[in-house]
Amino acid sequence: MLCALPALPAFAQSEGLYGPVAENAVRGGRLNMGLLVEPPGLDPFHQAADARIRITVLVYQGLFYESPSGEAVPLLAESYEVSDDNLVYTIKLRQGVKFHNGAEMTAEDVAYSYNYIRNPENGSPGAGDFSMISDIKAVDPTTVEITLSEPNASLPMTLGNKYGAVVPAGYFDDEAAKNLMNSESVGTGPFKLVEFVPNSHIVLDRNEDYWEEGAPYLDGIDFAILPNSASMLVALRNQRVDLVALTRPQDVQQVQQVEGLEIERWPSLGQASVDLGSETKPLDDVRVRQAISLAVDKEEVMKASIGDFGQVLGTIPAGLQERWGLPLDQVPMQGPDIEAAKKLLEEAGLGNGFTLTLTTINGYDWMDPAAVTLREQLAKIGVTVDIQRVDLGVWINNFRSSQMGFTFNDWASQPDPNLLFYRHFHKKPEGADFRNWNNDEASALLDEGRATSNPEERREIYNKFQTILAETVPTIMLFSPDHITVRSQRVQNYVQHPTGWYYGLARAYLSD
């Protein structure tokens, strides 16, 4: 017997998608949005960068939409059923969906797209997320069946919009297609790509054949790429742009006094953290890691980095705290407690202190002030911190080869604890265990959490996991910087999604 998960009624669905449906939206007009970070490409299959996802969610769609509260809401899917053993998902597809090239979307396309991405030979960074899938096949033109090798409660969320998308079957048969997605638009999303001129701008136009009735409201979006916030703020002040999502919340101060600009703060799923790789001496000693955790004053680091525009974290990003987080007053090893930290260092035989190199990444603005502040904090327990700034490419190489040492990190995931924790913290080979944490108990909990679909039980399991995480300190989650949007008053109904992706543009409109 199949246990059926009822699809949400159509009305509620469209309300949940992308953001609130506007009551009396004005149709038409083009919105100017400023981009502080240029996407390194617009290919949802081969590009992991967040700057890419922010934009491609408007052009490409997956089967589900990751709602801000952490639900997987059917998007190109209409409904789905799960078999009793939780291994087979039968997904009914939405009908009447057209690709930007005019072709009708069918189950063949869906099966092709997800089969392409899950094959690591095709070079997608998202392949790992799909490794629990053993088979995807089109049952009939509107039904897809996905079989898992083991139960996984976050499958629908995995079929969201981060990696991959539904594209016409056979799209990648042409080798050159790997390079074409910056100039071609083959998605099903509310907007289609018209032009991407590197270092200059990206133009999206409304998809006239879009399947949602009446959406989107805008005729198009012109993204202007301005890589430094000084120019961006000047442009905002002089109304050259209508909307910007700031990458540095503290920049708000520079436009706060400007008339006609609306500033809004939104919770985020991102986290600024310090990672402690156990391959680096003396971080292999848990007492040393605990001492560092106790010495850190997260509040002060946050204040130095982004001012008051964020939330201090326990063991999970702010956007996930309410639903999945260990209550903040129950998180162990939280500082600052210099005495306790010193005691731990003495027990570890390092009472006289030692020197650590802290890695920061070039281009991540918050890391410099945070590094300077952390340096002062750790000096109090006798730890001398040298700061080393490296390029992103170099950093990623170290990270991926689990040679990260003591480093700042800046990352985010979809709103699901399994997608957040598993790959980062499960021991090898199932997970990547970037920090060489190698914790059996925590890995067992991650396996259990992934296979459990009851939300209450799941929460219980992840709370246990977070307690271990805080006690043994492979990472110290510092704060989630709020998403800050600045918009001119004519921009209406824009809601910033906690992932930082620009879903809200599918619901935004311009008042006259």
């Binding site: 100039s183 992103l392 490419g393």
Partner: protein, 314 residues
């Protein structure tokens, strides 16, 4: 002349070839390639290797270089690894922007710098000369990007104005185009005006000190005639040489000005290519910069020879 030209060209080509090799090696010595960046924190090894194979990064470096060189010789600079566009198209677009900035800056520098220099030279030692020279040295000492930054703030706070965001080619709208380029050209121009006028002043002064000019002045030849016949002629050749130097300097200065003012020129293309480790774009853009600098040098050289037949082929 023809023989000289061939020799010069051959030497330039060899240098360009060696420069390309240097660049090719340099960029590949660094950890963290484009695939690492595409993979981010998520990707697995199999996927990464598949992409490396796709880009040819699994080949030995000399093979990669040969393959690249072969294509370059056929006029194909390859396809950008992050943008999927032909590198020639990207460079073509970017080069036009940079060229426009360069030529306009040169124009401004010449129009303002040359008269200033001549004035200062003629009034050597007088207050006007001192004033112009003080301006020159300030212009030379001020960092270009800092001037740009200060201009941006000053203009924005005084007039609540800032340049339009998206670069518009002059063919589409000359007004918008100039509005976008005004501040960058001003900030680059300050330095070049200073350099130009300083240079011209020196040449005017040294011309004025020439024996025959002194004699002419002593003999009471009208100032106008002395100026046009002796001084201007003496100053013209160095001015042309200097133009080349300035163009090359602008080519360098443009890197930082383009990134400050978000102009989609060659400099910014280069910087983003370094950041994203987009080797085909990086190699192509550098090759163009090197070749452009060489062409400018060559043109200066030729102009020099045409104007002054005394300079004989060595």
């Amino acid at each position: 002349m023809g023989k000289y030209l061939v020799k010069r060209l051959a030497a330039s080509l060899l240098t360009a070839f060696l420069a390309s090799m240097l660049v090719f090696l340099l960029v590949r010595l660094v950890p963290g390639d484009v695939v690492a960046q595409m993979m981010g924190q998520a990707g697995g090894e199999t996927a990464a290797n598949a992409l490396r194979e796709f880009f040819g990064l699994d080949q030995p470096i000399y093979m990669q270089y040969l393959a690249w060189l072969m294509k370059v010789l056929q006029g194909d600079l390859g396809v950008s690894w992050t943008r999927g566009m032909p590198v020639t198209t990207m460079i073509g677009q970017a080069f036009l922007v940079t060229l426009e900035i360069g030529l306009l800056t040169l124009l401004v520098a010449t129009i303002i710098g040359v008269p200033l220099g001549i004035l200062a030279g003629i009034y050597e030692g007088r207050p006007l000369d001192t004033a112009i020279q003080s301006f020159n040295i300030l212009g030379l000492a001020a960092p270009v990007f800092w001037v740009g930054l200060m201009l941006l703030v000053a203009v924005s706070s005084l007039f609540s104005w800032s340049p339009p965001l998206r670069y518009v080619p002059p063919t589409r709208s000359l007004g918008d185009n100039l509005a976008i380029l005004a501040l960058p050209i001003l900030s680059l121009g300050l330095l070049q005006v200073a350099a130009y006028s300083q240079f011209v002043r020196q040449n005017v002064v040294s011309a004025l000190h020439q024996e025959y000019v002194r004699t002419a002045i002593a003999k009471g030849v009208p100032v106008r005639i002395i100026f046009f016949k002796h001084i201007l002629r003496n100053v013209l050749i160095p001015i042309i040489t200097f133009m080349g130097l300035i163009l090359i300097q602008i080519l360098g200065g443009v890197v930082i000005i383009e990134s400050l003012f978000a102009l989609p020129g060659l400099g910014r293309l280069l910087l983003t290519a370094i950041e994203t480790r987009d080797y085909p774009v990086l190699q192509g853009a550098l090759l163009i910069v090197v070749v452009a600098a060489m062409v400018v040098n060559l043109l200066v050289d030729l102009a020099y020879r045409l104007i002054d037949p005394r300079v004989r082929v060595s």
